[in-house]
């Protein structure tokens, strides 16, 4: 008797809770007023939505503020919010968006941007210089919104009429234009009364971009094409972003053609995905350089002979083919991405890395190291033994580290791998006092190779100076580059930086970090390909994903 009561009590409680839960879900799936009425009018039966899977990061939260952390994966910067101009790191393309052009004056201390005429916000009001000035004033007023640190460089932002904005710099910093012009512009009408914009939850985003938010629930976000878009209404009428929590179901969904555009890592991509349909395509262009950083404040690593020997011992081809599944290629000694070579490559540098165990050992012996009883090179009783850090769970890098450990053992250098928890790894590489000896990590790309070198070599303000670089000649070259608008001066300054990397090896470039990109061109054509690399093709990159969408046309 009693157990039946318990059973029924339990069952009815569960059902009640579940039903209340689902009604809550219904309440939280807000129908955005502006979109709801438009949806009625735009029931386009025959056009399937383009389904995009940027990254499997789990269920969505209802916040379309451009400052939200999910920004790269839900597309609002690009589809809704736009910057003045977009500078692409992967392909070096420059795409004017809200501005039609810019010019320098006042000895490169004033940047004047001309704004596009006739641009409307998605609620119908006009876009003017007031919105641009407002955006930058917000960054100044609320430093936690200023992610790029623009106001460290700017002294003032002034509107010159409704279609021109003047940016005044404190000191000359030519490359910084890409950050200023790349800042997404927010509507003054929506944000003026919201206080700190980073703390605002935006459920009805208003933007100038090609798409407008149609619906939201924790599983699915949809956008529909903006008929008033200044660039013309996009041919892809509806775009859908389903939420995925892990790679397994994402891989299966791609294989079944339920997702049209993805940016995920898939092992054995031929067997799992590409072979399932002739329309399943992929391309992994180089996104950044994966680097083995050497902490040059550690004794042993401050000796160039040791770094050179290490570089000669590493089998980069094996790393690319085994650790990275053959999806990438070996990096260049100059540290440039393949797309940057034609414009920036300095002459007189080695064209490729070589592997030569014999030469490595000769270099060490010439520098005074002798093999001790365990076969490890040593000098003055100190062995060449270093720890190498890598985050756990990043299986390709974990494989690379164990491959490098074996390879360096062949030339008498002992490597002790340290596989750290992700949080520990990040703490170690970001703390001012570097907590590692060797570490494998990414580099910070940008519109030109300057950004990578500046982040890595600048002793004051380099965001990723992981090798503790402080070379006066290089620092001078960095300042020369950023103070000059002349391409010739920039090229010669960049040559100094490339030569430093290639001949001093403060870090050892390994291979290129891939940009993950899978696409299905059955319904739409116009995708970026190796033959037509017009923009960064990853769906998780802000602004470029909207540029790709504007290039797509239905397959005829």
């Amino acid at each position: 008797m009693k157990k039946r009561t318990i059973g029924m009590l339990g069952a009815s409680t569960a059902v009640l809770v579940a039903l209340t839960g689902f009604s809550q879900v219904g309440a939280s799936a807000t129908t955005h007023a502006l979109a709801a009425s438009m949806t009625m009018k735009r029931a386009i039966a025959n056009e399937k939505p383009l389904v995009i899977l940027a990254s499997p990061v789990g269920p969505w939260t209802d916040n379309f503020s451009p400052w939200s952390n999910e920004v790269g994966d839900t597309g609002q910067i690009g589809l809704i919010y736009q910057p003045l101009e977009y500078f692409d790191a992967v392909t070096t393309a420059k795409v004017p968006l809200l501005s039609t052009g810019y010019s320098w004056s006042n000895g490169y201390k004033t940047l004047t941007a001309n704004l596009r005429h006739g641009v409307k916000w998605s609620n119908g009001s006009a876009f003017t210089s007031a919105d641009v000035v407002f955006t930058f004033q917000e960054l100044k007023k609320y430093p936690d919104a200023d992610g790029n640190g623009d106001w460290n460089v700017l002294s003032s932002v002034v509107a010159k009429g409704p279609y021109q904005v003047q940016f005044n710099f404190k000191t000359v910093n030519v490359p910084y234009a890409s950050y200023i012009l790349g800042q997404y512009i927010i509507p003054k009408q929506q944000f003026a009364n919201l206080g700190d914009p980073t703390k605002a939850i935006i459920k009805n985003p208003i933007g100038t971009g090609p798409y407008i938010l149609q619906s939201f629930n924790s599983q699915d976000i949809t956008y529909y094409a903006n008929p008033q878009y200044w660039g013309g209404e996009p041919a892809v009428r509806t775009v859908e972003y389903p939420a995925f929590s892990g790679n397994d179901s994402a891989d299966l969904a791609l294989a079944k053609s339920q997702v049209d555009w993805a940016g995920i890592f898939i092992p054995s991509i031929q067997a799992v995905y590409a072979s399932k349909s002739p329309y399943h395509k992929y391309w992994f262009p180089a996104g950044d350089v994966t680097m083995l950083y050497t902490n040059m404040s550690v004794p042993g690593l401050n000796d160039y002979a040791v770094r050179e020997a290490m570089s000669l011992a590493i089998n980069r081809t094996q790393l690319a083919n085994e650790g990275e599944y053959g999806y990438t290629t070996v990096a260049l000694p100059s540290g440039l991405l393949p797309s940057q070579v034609s414009e920036w490559q300095a002459s007189g540098l080695p064209s490729a890395f070589t592997m030569n165990d014999q030469k490595a050992e000769q270099i060490l012996m010439k520098a005074g190291y002798k093999k001790d009883s365990s076969g490890i090179f040593a000098k003055d009783g100190k062995e060449l033994s270093f720890t190498m850090q890598v985050p756990t769970g990043w299986t390709d890098w974990d494989t690379d580290v164990s491959l490098m450990t074996q390879e360096m053992a062949q030339v008498g250098i002992k490597i002790v791998p340290e596989v750290e928890a992700q949080s520990t790894y990040f703490s170690n590489i970001f703390s001012p006092k570097k907590q590692y000896q060797l570490v494998i990590s990414w580099t910070n790309p940008g519109p030109s190779p300057f950004f990578l070198f500046n982040s890595m070599f600048n002793p004051k303000g380099g965001s990723f100076n992981e090798s503790e670089v402080n070379n006066p000649q290089v620092t001078t070259a960095l300042t020369q580059f950023s103070s000059s608008g002349s391409l010739a001066v920039q090229k010669s300054a960049l040559a100094v930086m490339q030569k430093y990397l290639a001949t001093q090896l403060p870090g050892l470039p390994l291979f290129y970090g891939s940009t993950w990109y899978e696409y299905n061109d059955q319904n739409y054509t116009g995708w970026p390909t190796a033959a037509n690399p017009y923009i960064d093709p990853a769906p998780y990159n802000s602004v470029s994903q909207a540029i790709v969408l504007m290039h797509l046309k239905p397959r005829t």
Partner: protein, 328 residues
């Protein structure tokens, strides 16, 4: 009466202890949530963004006792704070969004496992000595021992990918609107079959084996042997005499199991992209999202305590010996 007052008093003390431990633990974790989020962008952010984030998260320098009383005040008013990883969305919003799905899927699966498992245990005790009696627990234990994500993936692959009988991901389809309408509810059930099956398979064996052990113990009791000697029918013997008494330890297990429902099933939720709370909890812990971790730990602790409390009360109705302290 004293028994009930004791129980309520114990409940209140346990709640206070849970709340306090919940305050202390996240602050003992190494690392820094701003650095972790910065790291996730892998170089696409400027260094000033890291500084900006730390301001956003309001890294408080107030002394710990002031933080503690602020924390207590917030708990009572239902302010769990703003999540770091989903900044500036409130922890409450995220919990409200995901908890119902977990309660639904994992709750139903747990109850099914308990009910079917218990009847399974009775059935196995009934057919003692036959081949099935040995086979069923082994098959059950196989599913219990294999990791839930493997079971989930096998179901996903065969029924979702190969045979296309059930959907492969999500809690409901993208073509239905959430609310009290039949298309939505049927979509939820359709999407819920495989996740519920996963959690069911990984849990049922425990109930079967537990019930069987209890049954066998109880079957050896004097009163059962006496009843059998007196010629009571096998069905009556199994259900009215043995099962009723063997059920008591299962009720204890049920209390624990109900309390743990709110944990969610992280492995199942990752495989099926099911919008439950286990996934959010896992993310919060690895992202060192203090407010989210605190909010969820608190809910879990409170649910377990309440479930135990209710079952304690029920237990005293089921087993009079508990109320009288075992005296005759």
């Amino acid at each position: 009466m004293r028994y009930y007052i004791n129980k309520v008093g114990f409940l209140l003390i346990s709640i206070w202890a849970a709340i306090t431990i919940n305050f202390i633990l996240p602050r003992m974790m190494p690392g820094n949530p701003a650095e972790i989020i910065f790291g996730k962008f892998q170089g696409r952010l400027q260094p000033s963004a890291l500084h900006a984030m730390m301001i956003e998260f309001g890294f408080s320098n107030a002394p710990w006792y002031i933080q503690y009383f602020q924390y207590l005040g917030n708990i009572i008013t239902g302010h769990f704070g703003i999540s770091y990883s989903y900044f500036p969305v409130h922890v409450k919003t995220i919990i409200e969004q995901s908890l119902p799905w977990t309660l639904g899927a994992v709750g139903i699966a747990t109850l099914l496992a308990a009910i079917i498992g218990t009847f399974g245990g009775i059935f196995i005790a009934w057919i003692r000595g036959s081949f099935l009696e040995k086979a069923i627990p082994i098959v059950g234990m196989f599913f219990q021992a294999t990791p839930a994500n493997w079971t989930a993936f096998m179901l996903l692959f065969f029924f979702g990918f190969d045979l296309s009988i059930f959907p492969m991901y999500h809690g409901f389809g993208s073509d239905v609107t959430p609310g009290f309408n039949w298309p939505f509810i049927s979509s939820v059930i359709d999407h819920g079959v495989l996740p519920v099956a996963t959690v069911f398979l990984t849990g049922v064996s425990g109930w079967i084996v537990g019930m069987r052990a209890n049954m066998i113990n109880t079957l050896g009791e004097d009163y059962v042997i006496f009843a059998e000697a007196k010629g009571v029918s096998k069905a009556r013997l199994m259900f009215s005499y043995t099962a009723r008494n063997a059920l008591l330890p299962q009720v204890t297990s049920l209390a624990i199991a109900i309390g743990m429902i709110v944990n969610g099933s992280i492995l199942m939720e990752t495989e099926f992209s099911y919008p439950g709370i286990g996934f959010q909890l896992n993310n919060a812990v690895s992202g060192e999202d203090y407010p989210m971790v605190q909010g969820m730990f608190l809910i879990i602790a409170l649910c377990v305590l309440f479930a135990n409390f209710i079952v304690d009360l029920l237990y005293s109705r089921l087993d009079p010996r508990v109320r009288t302290g075992g005296a005759n």
